[in-house]
Symmetry: C2
Amino acid sequence: MVTITDISKACGVSRATVSKALNGASDVSPETAKRVRDTAASLGYLPNAAARALKMGRSYNIGVLFSDATGGGISHEYFSRILESVKAESERLGYDITFISKDLGRQSMDYYEHAKYRSCDGVVIASADFQDPAIIRLAASEIPTVTLDYSFDSRTSILSDNVRGVETLVRFVYEKGHRKIAFIHGEMTAVTQKRLASFRKTCAELGLSIPPEYIRPAIYHDPRSSGLETRALLALSERPTCIFYPDDLSFLGGLSELEKHGLSVPKDMSVVGYDGIPLSQVLRPRLSTYRQGGERMGKEAARLLVEQIENPDTWIPQQITVEGELLPGSTVSEIG
Amino acid sequence: MVTITDISKACGVSRATVSKALNGASDVSPETAKRVRDTAASLGYLPNAAARALKMGRSYNIGVLFSDATGGGISHEYFSRILESVKAESERLGYDITFISKDLGRQSMDYYEHAKYRSCDGVVIASADFQDPAIIRLAASEIPTVTLDYSFDSRTSILSDNVRGVETLVRFVYEKGHRKIAFIHGEMTAVTQKRLASFRKTCAELGLSIPPEYIRPAIYHDPRSSGLETRALLALSERPTCIFYPDDLSFLGGLSELEKHGLSVPKDMSVVGYDGIPLSQVLRPRLSTYRQGGERMGKEAARLLVEQIENPDTWIPQQITVEGELLPGSTVSEIG
DNA sequence: GAGCGCAGCGAAAACGATTAAGTGCTAATA
DNA sequence: TATTAGCACTTAATCGTTTTCGCTGCGCTC
């Protein structure tokens, strides 16, 4: 491994000067700087991130936290899109990313300890159980963090506009003439609460009274669970004309249940999804859904985290909401 | 930050002893060891990964390489499943994972340099253009590597059993009575070549002669492209009775094209996919496909990489093939 | 010619951990 | 009794960088 010392010997200057030259310090002559850079290149010098991190207390490494327990694992479209854009933007800004987890090997660490151990300059909390004390500890620590889809007090967060998304969808189906709208939702997280509240509020604004049995709990990304709720809805004496699903994938569970009952979409039943994953636009009929701005969210998360890392003193926590867009699709029929 | 020095002061022993006690070295008395561990715990000591890496030349960090250029980005089911299992297994074995890329910030590095810079103990090459000189350089370097779905000479690799997978599917549809089988394949990578060769070989073994126009190039994970090829197949004077798609997602493009022609699956046309992503088993009809053992592959990759890292001298490169399984589904009809 | 400022460079001390070599000490062996 | 062996610990060097503080000469001013 070629080090700064090798360069200093080859150039006949001190290690201090080499370091300064390589980092563009002002007190080294242009000629020396060039000579140093040239020999560094010809020797194939690479800085040593560990030594740097040790000395500077900065690792140029940011942690990403995906706790799969909540079912928000990497392999869900929405999260992998976020991960990909966090990665791309971080790298653009000169930071690597490392996954942060509980329990590394036989050492048991919590998230905060893990991040400290790797001296992460900051952490993106992408998907987690926000009630978990370990998450709360991390968010309350001195380590810069950005959370996605949840706001801790006086910390920076990026939010998908769930309120607006649901409102947009409700108004969309309302305008198509639907009045009996059912809402199948996921587990009761902060996100779900917002969506449900928005659903209720928008319905109220539109003068719709939604019977309680139209609002049904299911599980995100679980077609089986939403299939069961669909069946329950179909068993009602007064069936809805339109069903909201917790996400695009859940819709598929509903779809097969509808088909079992001989109902076709959208002729006999209108449906909408949520997320706008690529798949939803490849299906026939194209799903009516709301596309969350995952890549924008990931990019903003990385950007704000780095800004916070590099300006710790002047940093003011922000909550940014990233808008999505309605994908009209064709699973909502014009009625009445 | 509490360091080993703080502990040594609190305990009245030298830093060396603290280090040894914490790492379970033999030449420290049980009592001292306990005292050190206790004060370490009470002080909230955390080792510093950077200092460790610097001194030991081992970072307990493994690099993961996903170059999105090839379309094998993180957000495809198959790859995110692999990523997730690589992550889980690595963490179980005490290693963190960091993404390796070209170009970190304004520094331009190739993969090898990046891995060196972060002193990764090894790299999992999960998805990449294996012709890329930068990849070749990495694979030829002294850094332990494991590649997925590609074998470099005398390096360890994990392969999906593409040959067997395609053979299984061909025999499956053959037994259902199909004789006119079309094969839409993805870009001509090593994997594609294997699949195509297996298709040809199995057909030959079964005495089927496949007209050249039944074999059509498309693009992986691109429903549009496979839709076009489907259209071309339907335009033939002698249509196939069964179509192979490059992957499950591509099938959806074919499906919508078939529907446009008023053909229903599997009544008028049988189809099979590849990958066996969860979605494929939620669709109605359930897709007949071959499920690749992504999580097994990721797990094996991590396991073998760590084994290689920890036994560099006695390491013998291996090629492991991970079997998948047929998901019969119901998109292949019984004919003849 | 004394005094001053400045540009360019170097010496040396960190950062936090590991580890080879060495130091006393007690107890067992020859 | 002298030697050895082993235990439990310490000393000090080391990994590759960064950074503070000084030092040296040079040119300029008064």
